[in-house]
């Protein structure tokens, strides 16, 4: 949890120092979601992520070196530096950069998975903004029609890049899920144990019945959409920080939090030093490699 927080903060700092290029989307404030889902997911499950996926990756693999090397284009990169922040494939984890695009793909993988690994699920992370894409509805329709073991995790942070939800979404996520007959559950807590307790029976149900589930997290994005592009007023950000999991966990477990934080800072520091010293990645030769 803290590893993800410090990793993301470090990325923004590295950008400011001019050590990173392109863009990146941090999940500051939303880290607890993939961490909570970690124990609910199994290695045979597929996880699909999007542009804001560092937390999803780190919660699944706990391997910050390969991710930072990917973002910085250094040796040891998980995808040779070709994919970068938004395009990662490792085992059954896949992210790609176009909103909504991964939902139909997850339905397809779910159809195959249902046959090859009964009981496994496809978990797809999307945001509130992703619901503007038609692909989401085409995919939900198929998932419900064909009983695909799909869990759509909606990180509803109330803001799509710079656009607040009320400016871009009519109705609700719940209403949209209901239209297709998908189950819907809204999570409002940031307490990881409570999230797990709420969702464990629902995940089991998906594994047993292959009935699609939409889990909507009422969450908050503390950082900018990408970098330096946050136009929200300071008071609003301050209000969000008051309800941040880190604030609440610090108050609840001061000593434990401090020790864990020190360890996370040290790990991220070592990772940065290691990756900065690494040589540029080669990008491999995709056409010549044997699959």
């Amino acid at each position: 949890l803290l590893l993800i927080r410090r990793f993301e903060e470090t990325l923004l700092r590295l950008f400011d120092e001019g050590l990173l290029q392109g863009t990146t989307h941090t999940c500051l404030g939303q880290e607890y979601i993939p961490v909570a889902l970690r124990t609910l997911l199994r290695p045979e499950d597929f996880v699909f992520s999007g542009h804001r996926g560092h937390g999803h990756y780190l919660a699944r693999f706990e391997d910050p070196e390969s991710l930072l090397a990917e973002i910085m284009g250094r040796e040891g990169a998980v995808c040779g530096g070709v994919g970068g922040s938004q395009h990662i494939l490792r085992d059954r984890y896949l992210s790609t950069g176009v909103q909504g695009e991964s939902l139909p793909v997850a339905v397809g993988a779910g159809l195959t998975l249902k046959r090859t690994d009964p009981g496994a699920v496809c978990c797809v992370y999307i945001g509130d903004g992703s619901w503007g894409e038609g692909a989401v509805y085409e995919a939900l329709n198929m998932a419900c029609l064909w009983d695909v073991p799909l869990v759509v995790v909606v990180e509803h942070n109330g803001i799509a890049q710079s656009t607040p939800t009320h400016v871009q979404m009519a109705g609700s996520v719940e209403g949209r899920a209901a239209a297709f007959g998908a189950d819907h559950h809204r999570v409002t807590t940031v307490d990881i144990n409570r999230v797990r307790a709420e969702l464990a029976p629902l995940f089991s149900l998906v594994r047993r019945t292959a009935r699609p589930l939409v889990v909507e997290f009422a969450t908050r994005r503390l950082g900018p959409h990408s970098r330096g592009d946050d136009t929200r007023p300071a008071e609003e950000l301050e209000r969000l920080r008051e309800r941040d999991w880190a604030t609440l966990y610090t108050e609840a477990f001061p000593d434990l939090f401090a020790r864990a934080d020190e360890s996370a800072r040290r790990t991220v520091g070592e990772v940065v030093a290691w990756v900065r010293a690494a040589r540029p990645s080669t990008g491999e030769e995709p056409r010549e490699a044997v699959c």
């Binding site: 597929f46 990169a77 998980v78 995808c79 040779g80 530096g81 070709v82 994919g83 395009h87 990662i88 494939l89 896949l94 790609t96 950069g97 176009v98 695009e101 939902l103 139909p104 793909v105 997850a106 339905v107 397809g108 993988a109 779910g110 159809l111 195959t112 998975l113 090859t116 038609g134 692909a135 085409e138 995919a139 329709n141 198929m142 029609l145 064909w146 990645s281 990008g283 491999e284 995709p286 056409r287 010549e288 490699a289 044997v290 699959c291």
Partner: protein, 339 residues
Amino acid sequence: VLDAETGPERVGRNLNRALHRLLDEDPRLHVLGEDIVDPYGGAFGVTQGLSTRYPDRVRPTPLSEGAIVGVAAGMALAGDRVIVEIMFGDFAALAFDQLVNFASKSVSMYGRRVPVPLLVRCPTGGRRGYGPTHSQSLQKHFLGVPNLAIHELSPYHDCHDVLRAALDRAEPAMIFEDKLLYTRPMYVEGVVDDLFRYDFPVPGVARSFVDGGGDGSMDGGDPECVVIAPGGMAHRALAAARSMLLEDEITCHVLVPSQLYPFDVAPLVPRLRSARTICVAEDGTPGGSWGSEVATRIHEHLPGMPVRLVAAEDAVVPTAAHLERHVLVDESTIVEALR
């Protein structure tokens, strides 16, 4: 399309038989599309019988071309192989994102080669009066996408060979299928008709020529003209070649590649050198087209070679037959280009 037939096999039947055989050969192969199950068997009847024999692997879908291709890509990534039928090739526009931004990119954007065995079939072209949104030839819009191969159905190329090879390459591919071709006969054993024979001087590229000896002993020699055309244009190109020979006594070869892109002209250069004119004919609209791509490649090898481009008019395809005729390519357009 697939009613009981006598005589040579029709292209549509050859394609249907290829799909049956592919499903039979590979238990991981699935077919997705709209209205593809029996008794309907697809808008053009090409998938007839598949769902009856392979009910678990032939899936009828909602009207969602984008998601259909996305689902197929997901299945392919998870270890299956998938053929998608887009009812009318025009609707492939709805799947552009999944094809261009996901399926074909996935082959190489993750730093290693990822197999994506996915083939998208697109019934295409006009001359059936279906009007502006059901008659287009959109091939050119899919050219130049890394890891996306573009094929066209042809009366020369056995469909099983073509589809099987495309799936075995494990990279996304599209095959554009001229709708009129479904009811035309396949050419077999080197014979096109009373005048023309054919061979494959280069793998995947059929060459039609007049057999001077009448017994297959002469290979047509060095032609004065060459027409390069996709499979859907083959009959009009052959009609033009026939007309050139009979009316003008000009020898003309017709080259029909199965794969339009990527397309390597280098092996064909020795066959083109003698020509005084080359014509590249296609059904789409002019500009930024397959023809201009082929012409550019030819000029790299044969600078100064006259290459004439023939394409449809820069216009929508009208519904009324007499209006549609003015817009689309016919044999006389090719003859004019060659003269």
